[in-house]
Symmetry: C2
Subunit: 519 residues, 2 copies
């Protein structure tokens, strides 16, 4: 087995955090409030905006990896030693031995309880994705890693979901490893799979997810045989010899239509004569729509009407949408049925998927919403210069409201335990006072709580979902989403609302905070 360098266990353990979590932790410790019960809320403020196109929903991902991390991350001797070496501005130890001793014993996530939206589900801006409860210090220290795990995988699962939708049900393969953010490539591949990508080229990660990776060959194989004087045809023959039942050939090393596809057909004929069916070709440069049509013509004429055509090179959801639209229009002119052609396509998505080109981060936050005082949780608030940035206070539940068509029509937040009436609802916009919406009983078909109890005092309450289950959740949620919300460009705005009692609580706390300002 590969030995993981010691340093990685430090950089990927509990010290995978921001320094201010630790300085705050010690400040809490000094005030004796470090073990008070605190409640934090995780949500994101904006859907990804890729510039020319924008998401109208997100797909939750990253939770199981966060839970795994929480199980093993703790302050061991090495970590304490690292903190002991830090110095303050006067050159004295930054962290006191009393605090470090406390941390060595109590520095685990065993006291954390968590309710969260399961992976694969559709989630919306400004609605809680997770509520975290635990001793102030450890709930605070969790912030950085929780955000790191959930922000990024949700970002990529969302991008993958859009690509899959744009691909009209055709397979999407992820292969962005080479341009991903170092080991973040693994999280990217996992998230892409949750978001609906069928396979990834990432070998280790595929094993981790219990599937087989996908991959054929690169230009280098063709170049190698060219350098040896055996040409593209020699390369194709060598590949077919090694993989008679998995023969998918990259045809654009020399000239796609003049050399690549004709050589592929020669090899496909030889394979079939030997009793094997070829898999197909891959196009990796040029006008992919045009080349797909022309290649299909050549393949059809040679009797290979069922082979796959894999497209790659710069694909994102908008590129795929445009390519398929171009095929719709152009294919009939060449005697090709566009639907049949599209049905044999596979989309290979690399850099733009795995790095979420256009919007490279999700702006998820982690806000203190309540803190224990005299044994009671007191709701907490932050009054921002921007009203939309003021978080909704206190412990909350989130409900998804479905209309009579079975479509989700709003996510509603309510103070925890209050629930929502199913005989009619008043929905308040989180910020705009005059924006009030009423749903009568007969407009509502179903109300569903979204936050699932996941950890209670560090113990898992749910079993890790397998990949198929997470994908099925996404599929079910998309089927119940308004098509306008799923539009690639300028999507319809999904409603996220507060119940009147949560709205009232928020106004009261904002008022009190404002009064505290010296005048």
């Amino acid at each position: 087995m590969t030995v993981v360098p010691t340093s990685r266990s430090v950089t990927e353990g509990i010290l995978f955090t921001d320094q201010y979590q630790l300085t705050m932790a010690q400040a809490y410790f000094r005030q004796g409030i470090h073990e008070r019960t605190a409640l934090f809320e995780h949500f994101f403020r904006r859907y990804p905006n890729y510039g020319s196109h924008q998401a109208g929903y997100c797909v939750a991902a990253g939770l199981e990896w966060l839970l795994d991390w929480m199980e093993s991350a703790h302050f061991g001797d090495t970590e304490i030693e690292v903190l002991r070496s830090h110095r303050d501005g006067a050159g004295r130890p930054l962290f006191g031995e009393d605090f470090l001793s406390w941390l060595r014993v109590n520095g685990t996530f065993e006291g954390i309880s968590l309710r969260a939206v399961p992976e694969g589900r559709v989630v919306h801006a400004n609605a809680s994705v997770a509520m975290i409860e635990g001793p102030l210090v450890m709930a605070q220290i969790l912030e950085t890693s929780l955000l790191n795990h959930l922000n990024f995988q949700t970002l990529i699962a969302t991008k993958a979901s859009r690509l899959v939708e744009a691909s009209r049900g055709q397979q999407v393969l992820e292969f962005g490893l080479r341009r991903s953010a170092h080991f973040g490539a693994n999280a990217a591949a996992r998230a892409a799979l949750i978001g609906g990508a069928q396979f990834t080229s990432n070998v280790g990660l595929s094993h981790e997810m219990g599937i087989q990776p996908r991959g054929t060959h690169a230009h280098a194989l063709v170049q190698a045989f060219m350098a040896l004087g055996e040409g593209e045809l020699g390369a194709f023959r060598a590949y077919a010899e090694a993989y008679p039942d998995d023969c998918l050939l990259l045809v654009d090393t020399v000239d796609t239509l003049e050399s690549g596809v004709p050589n592929a057909i020669t090899v496909f004929d030889e394979l079939r004569a030997a009793g094997h069916e070829p898999v197909g070709i891959r196009l990796d440069s040029g006008d992919l729509a045009y080349l797909a049509i022309q290649s299909a013509q050549q393949l059809d004429a040679a009797g290979f009407g069922n082979t796959r055509i894999v497209l790659s090179s710069g694909l994102d959801e908008l590129a795929v949408f445009q390519i398929l639209a171009q095929i719709d229009q152009e294919a009939p002119r060449y005697g090709i049925d566009p639907d049949q052609l599209i049905a044999r396509l596979v989309m290979g998505a690399g850099s733009k998927l795995s790095a979420s080109q256009g919007q490279a981060y999700l702006d998820g936050v982690y806000k203190l919403v309540a803190l224990e005082k005299d044994g009671v949780l007191q709701p907490a608030i932050k009054v921002s210069e921007t009203p939309a940035k003021t978080a909704n206070p206190g412990d909350k539940d989130v409900f998804r409201v479905y209309d009579q068509r079975g479509r989700s029509t709003a996510d509603v937040m309510a103070p925890a335990g209050e629930g929502v009436a199913d005989d009619g609802l008043t929905l308040r916009h989180p910020v705009e006072a005059h924006s009030i919406r009423s749903l009568s009983e007969d407009e509502i078909s179903h109300i569903e709580p979204l936050l699932v109890p996941t950890l209670r005092a560090g113990k898992r309450l749910t079993q890790a979902a397998d990949l198929e289950e997470m994908r099925a959740r996404r599929q079910a949620d998309l089927e119940r989403l308004d098509p306008g919300v799923m539009r690639l460009v300028n999507p319809h705005r999904y409603h996220v609302s507060l119940t009147p009692s949560l709205w009232d609580l928020k106004q009261k706390l904002v008022g009190e905070a404002r009064e505290s300002v010296p005048s």
Copy 2:
């Protein structure tokens, strides 16, 4: 010490690769060419283009981590077991036992030699960043991880370098961990440090790099004390009590100018009375230029003219450039000297730096440029549909040519061993036949080879540079770069050229490849 889960040693070991590297490897093995010496070249095609602004140079980073990875990554029993489980289209094992046995014994990077541009140095589009030589199979398998390591860190070091330049010498702190790509956050922080960021908030990574992390407190600290009825002032006092010599306060939780700064000044007075000097304040929302001026006014009036003002929230190089320009114009109106104000600023850069918002990946590639035949390295070529995508063939050296002002004026590639004449040079554009430039002897002050022998048959030839050394390289290179090339927007195009003999070789091979196309 934190225990690293077993699965991570698989996903971050040698299986951190694309499946097609392994299928190609077996195809080479079947043809008996797997141990032939191959030469690959790594370069990137385009500088990052962030949309509204573009890079005109990059800063190389990632190499040392790649070398570390290469030292430990190998095909052990676990990895072979994973490959053994793969099935082909007919349900049979995808990889043969003979190939797996070979891989178990030979599947290390001990045969790889590498020449590369050292980390921290300025590098340019289409010039070799690394030349890799070794047995075909292992040099091929290296591709994915090499690109992953170098592409991402170079992308982030470049972004950091731009931010540092825009900051006019003021400190830049990296704190993007929460929105980075999972464990890629560590690579991002390292690269930001190489690119010139002074510190990072990332605790584990700072330890790895031998520096202390930076961080103070978040809004949560203030909210916690507000919920306990002690208000912002109570929070500031608690923080000052814990860190009397490191007191930097976040002042925008309630109202920056009406509450945050006045409360900070109260605490600063108390600190000074107790014999401590406060460090400063942090502004994290609103109009940062305006708030910096107003805060400075209040701090100056209270006798705290030397405290730092840390700016954060959405900073990238263009935002920083604009904020400083606004301070230049606006500060005098409020009786504030703009240079003095700017001299006390610190830039905190998070998501936009660590995820390289606008351009989320670098398009570095890894191309086969030569392969052994009959004991001789044969140059290899890929003829692309796009001429600019045709790599330059064969083993090469790269030279940087400095003009009489000591400024770098071009990077020139030549066939390995040929060198370049220092009594005058003819430079050919890599693609455009009519673009020829001549440099006479008296226009050249110095010619410097850029590729440093780094690995010979798996053994390191160089010592790992420390952070200061890598930063010094960047600093020295930037001082020798034309200011036009460093411009944030629409930078001047740096010349990357071929010697006439490399140009001739390329034309010859392109011609031969084209002739091989069936007509």
